[in-house]
């Protein structure tokens, strides 16, 4: 069994390596146009945002609407560190993400006592406070935003961070800690009665989610040169939440598929200008009517599931 798992892992790693080098080659030879490249980055950022928010909303069951706030913290801290102080990209990204995680703990401790809509309002307020503060800090450009950020984030970084985010959260979920989080979502009183420190796990999930939102912010800042407080408005939080709900609350692969799909749809509808939002909205309504649990619900698309679906009973597919 362990041997089969090993081969599966080798297979997954090989596939990822092929994807990585293929895209790398396509970028270097210029086959991918700048517009396509931009969407590639948006896909990566959206995957990170959706997967990290899914940990909070989908797995731990805490409806938080402040993801853009954490993203802003990561973006601004990392950008200030690279542009004003001259620290390399990697430590700056980590510093930004850690600051966001710390913010997650500070915000999480008082607000995670609240449930459902109250938590949503409190975190929503947090996001707006971050934006409000950033507008009023001259040092980071105020409302006009921070300009002149170097485009440090290249394809390898994007690929690396997206992969790390998904792996980290996948491994976290498939452990006793992840089960503790899901138990909290299912029934907080029962989880507590079974010996789970619910406060600890809610804050932990919240700060891990905030950490990766900070990473997404740092990537965003170092690809788009320019960050403005209004980029991280409440709409950004809703965008992330939308991806999570769209893909299925409690499904990582659902979040990834939703992030790719929604980003591509937005890109394809670019030419339709105003009509784009209408089509987008109609699409959402249709999905919510016919699949209220999201594309995948709580299910995951894994290689094992795929093998079974294909009707293959070959030995390496059996669990």
């Amino acid at each position: 069994m362990d041997k089969q798992r090993l081969w599966l892992n080798v297979g997954v790693a090989a596939t990822l390596a092929v994807v990585y080098f293929a895209v790398d080659w396509l970028i270097k030879t210029g086959i991918i146009t700048p517009f396509q490249q931009l969407n590639l980055y948006l896909i990566g950022i959206n995957i990170i945002l959706a997967v990290s928010l899914n940990l909070i909303v989908g797995f731990t069951g805490q409806l938080a609407l402040g993801h853009a706030g954490f993203m802003a913290v990561g973006a601004y801290i990392s950008a200030v560190l690279t542009t004003k102080i001259g620290i390399p990209f990697l430590p700056a990204t980590l510093a930004g993400a850690l600051a966001a995680a710390l913010m997650g703990i500070i915000i999480g401790l008082p607000t995670l006592r609240l449930r459902g809509d109250y938590l949503a309002i409190a975190t929503l307020g947090f996001g707006e406070i971050v934006r409000g503060i950033l507008i009023n800090i001259e040092y980071v450009g105020g409302a006009a935003g921070l300009i002149g950020i170097k485009q440090y984030c290249t394809w390898p970084w994007l690929f690396f961070w997206t992969l790390i985010t998904v792996l980290f959260i996948k491994n976290f979920i498939n452990s006793t800690h992840g089960r503790a989080c899901i138990a909290i979502r299912e029934d907080e009183i029962a989880a507590e009665a079974m010996g789970i420190n619910t406060t600890k796990y809610k804050v932990l999930a919240f700060s891990i989610g905030a950490f990766f939102a900070g990473i997404a912010g740092a990537i965003y800042a170092h690809y788009f040169f320019l960050i403005q407080p209004n980029t991280f408005s409440i709409l950004k939080s809703f965008d992330a939440l939308l991806l999570v709900v769209f893909g299925g609350l409690g499904s990582l692969t659902g979040s990834i598929i939703a992030a790719v799909f929604v980003t591509l749809i937005t890109a394809l509808l670019q030419d339709l200008a105003q009509l784009r939002m209408v089509i987008y909205a109609v699409l959402l309504i249709i999905i919510m009517i016919f699949r209220p649990q999201g594309l995948l619900g709580t299910k995951e698309v894994t290689f094992e599931v795929l093998c079974k679906k294909m009707g293959g009973t070959t030995w390496h597919c059996s669990k």
Binding site: F172, S175, R179, A180, A183, E186, I189, A193, M194, G195
Partner: protein, 255 residues
Amino acid sequence: MALLEVKQLSKTFGGLEALKNFELSLEKKELVGLIGPNGAGKTTVFNLLTGVYKPTSGTFYLEGKCLLGLKPHQITSCGIARTFQNIRLFGDLSVFDNVRVANHWYSSYPVANAVLRLPSYFKYERRMSQRAYELLEIFNLLDKKDELAKNLPYGEQRRLEIARALAAKPKVLLLDEPAAGMNPLETKELMNLISWIREEFNLTILLIEHDMSLVMGICERIIVLDHGEIIAQGTPEEIKRNPRVIGAYLGEEAV
């Protein structure tokens, strides 16, 4: 010294005295029943003992250690586990995972080991699975281990809840109406199961139950609550003949 010692425990909700000066002393391996009409304060006792409510006054000790003011999860790790009157399983988790969750507090490993998939992760996960297997085997739920808990029939959900509580390694097990909604045959099986796990796991059990055949059949001692007060306690035979108990259940005889 008694294993669980409850002293003068009281709880008021606003003007309502849900529990007044509740006293209890459980010896090791005792099986005690807590009965009383609806609204007598039985579940309040459980909620106080597991830290869900803070008592208005009074205190309680487990093995001489005061548990007053601890959070529910801390009380669980001291050795009190419970089931719920209205089943509270983790519906969208599998039967297997429901039991594994309760292993969490004593066989956890650092988050970093999980994320990096270090050898200790596999070791501890295997240990947790092993224990869950054993419990599901005992409760005859092993063939349903991959089903979602919410899809189990009612009787099996009740059994799974007890299995899950046992996975938390309790010294004292509190069962809140374990036979509610079961047919007589299931109740009989449950009685055997409760007696058996008490021997097997060295448990002290306090149970709330309305099914008198179960209470009278397996409890060594019964405490009767009415309007938050203990109105009688003793062996099943004594309780059956106690006029106050009969009065509380059936109404006083008209004089």
